[in-house]
């Protein structure tokens, strides 16, 4: 019993060291800035950043901006799910199409698609649709690739069960292939949503339009350094929470693992 308690208390040590190091870093930074060793017009003291959180949240309407970014991200996510999964299913259904196009999709995954944002601005204007479409297009390849991987990785025994029940191709897909591939497909959707969030916030910042990305750009242009740092911390916090939620949903979809 005592060994278990010791092990449990021991398991908290690394986390404590991690958090402790972070706190020590901020305290060290505060000291360096307050003593003038680091220029406070380049790095504001952490206490000032923490102090500006309230101001940024209230005055800059962070919550509505957050909702705007989330809406853009989720709209891109819905489009990703529909078009990405449909594309993957289609490519898996027609093997020739898969042989012809899978390499292209994989190549697109490594291309800097987000650099097309000026082009999208010309097509969609400086609007939310530029941001949504950018998030959608940049995040499409992983969803397609993971859908193909999921469906083609269905265990042979499950396919044989479907055959032995004399299922039609449509039934085989909806009752066997799709449910079996769902966890892998969700991995693709999770990756896609992460890419979408990165690109949505990035393009918001670059075109100075929309939610949280624009907030950072705005504050930086006003030279509100403490506010800029606070807004960046807020975006990081939102991103991390977003990833954690997606991970939890993915684990829930993969009960066997």
């Amino acid at each position: 019993m005592s060994a278990a308690v010791a092990r449990r208390s021991g398991s908290y040590m690394p986390q404590a060291v991690g958090i402790g190091s972070l706190v020590a870093f901020f305290l060290g930074m505060e000291l360096l800035v307050q003593t003038g060793l680091v220029n406070r017009f380049i790095v504001p003291p952490p206490s000032e950043i923490i102090g500006s959180f309230g101001r940024v949240i209230v005055e800059e309407h962070v919550f509505s901006r957050f909702l705007q970014t989330l809406t853009e991200c989720l709209t891109a996510g819905v489009m990703l799910t529909v078009f990405g999964v449909a594309g993957g299913v289609l490519m898996n259904r027609f093997k020739l199409l898969q042989q012809a196009c899978e390499t292209w999709v994989a190549a697109m995954a490594s291309a800097p698609i987000v650099l097309m944002y000026p082009l999208f601005m010309v097509i969609f204007g400086r609007s939310a649709w530029t941001i949504i479409m950018m998030g959608f297009v940049s995040a499409l390849p992983p969803v397609i690739l993971k859908t193909i991987e999921g469906i083609s990785g269905t265990r042979k025994v499950l396919i044989n069960v479907g055959r032995s029940f004399n299922l039609t191709p449509s039934q085989q897909f909806w009752k066997i292939l799709f449910p079996a591939a769902l966890p892998t497909i969700f991995v693709g959707i999770r990756l896609g949503l992460i890419f979408a969030l990165i690109n949505v916030v990035g393009v918001e910042f670059l075109i100075n339009y929309g939610g949280l990305g624009q907030l950072i750009n705005d504050l930086a242009e006003r030279y509100d350094l403490a506010g800029t740092y606070a807004a960046i911390c807020f975006v990081i916090l939102v991103s991390v929470l977003f990833f954690i939620v997606l991970e939890k949903v993915e684990r829930w979809l993969r009960p066997i693992d």
């Binding site: 060291v17 012809a100 800097p112 670059l206």
Partner: protein, 264 residues
């Protein structure tokens, strides 16, 4: 084995005109035909879909001017520096975290969750630290590529065959010898994979930073083409950029033998 593959590839002319290749050619031709039709139809805004001839002309114009190569060199140097600094730091941090369970538990979650956050939002800070010149772009690229390299190396470190590590210890290798003779050779594939991912994100980081605030580099040229609404030139630059990025990615993968891993 590789030689045999190469030979079989050469001695089967039928594979060149396989149904998949024909379909690829048909898709490319179809897309080009639709594009050309749209450019002449007047259905879309003028110049959003310029004719293929205009894009081809812009491509030729772009590649025949020294200015483009100068800016390409600037971007390549920025990405190279970013990869060197960020990738180097990533390898060191990855080895330390991968070798030490305690440190890994203490700090790796931060890397894991900070890794996928949008790095471009740090650009205002980088400008404050490093100015508006190429240094701030290198810094953003460095920050972008540090995380995937560190995480990939840390994961690779934990996958090293314990026998290899024991062999190193039994030869009484010191830390430096362990790193250079055991860890790095055994982790070649995870490192190359990390560098490949790092190269992609460093490129994106540098180019996006250039589009935001710069006076040289490919990102600057792209945003300049946008501001004067020279769409054929923008398409030409995006085409060249995509070809270069995809080519560099494939090259790094091939040099690291990732191609061979997938095949076996």
């Amino acid at each position: 084995m590789a030689a045999t593959d190469r030979l079989t590839g050469v001695t089967h002319p039928a594979s060149v005109l396989s149904p998949a290749t024909l379909l690829r050619a048909a898709i490319i031709l179809g897309v080009l035909a639709i594009w050309e039709f749209l450019s002449h139809s007047g259905w879309l805004y003028r110049d959003v879909v310029p004719s293929l001839l205009a894009i081809g002309h812009a491509l030729f114009d772009l590649l025949s001017h020294g200015e483009y190569y100068f800016n390409l060199g600037v971007t390549a140097a920025e990405v190279g520096f970013a990869l060197l600094v960020g990738g180097g730091a990533g390898v060191v941090v990855g080895i330390v975290l991968g070798a030490n369970r305690f440190l890994s538990k203490a700090f790796e979650p931060y890397l894991y969750y900070l890794g996928p956050t949008p790095k471009i939002i740090f650009f205002p800070i980088m400008i404050m630290y490093f100015g508006v010149g190429p240094e701030s772009k290198v810094a953003l690229g460095t920050l972008s590529c540090f995380f995937p390299v560190a995480l990939s190396v840390a994961a690779g470190m934990r996958q090293i065959d314990q026998v290899l590590i024991r062999v190193g210890h039994s030869f009484r290798a010191n830390t430096w010898q362990m790193v250079t003779k055991i860890y790095l050779p055994a982790m070649r594939h995870p490192i190359i994979n990390g560098v490949r991912l790092g190269l992609g994100v460093a490129l994106i980081g540098v180019l996006l930073a250039e589009t935001k605030l710069s006076n040289k580099g490919i990102g600057y040229l792209i945003i300049q083409a946008y501001s004067i609404f020279d769409m054929p030139r923008m398409y030409a630059m995006l085409i060249v950029l995509f070809v270069l990025a995809i080519g560099a990615n494939a090259l790094v993968g091939r040099l690291g033998g990732l191609h061979a891993i997938k095949r076996t």
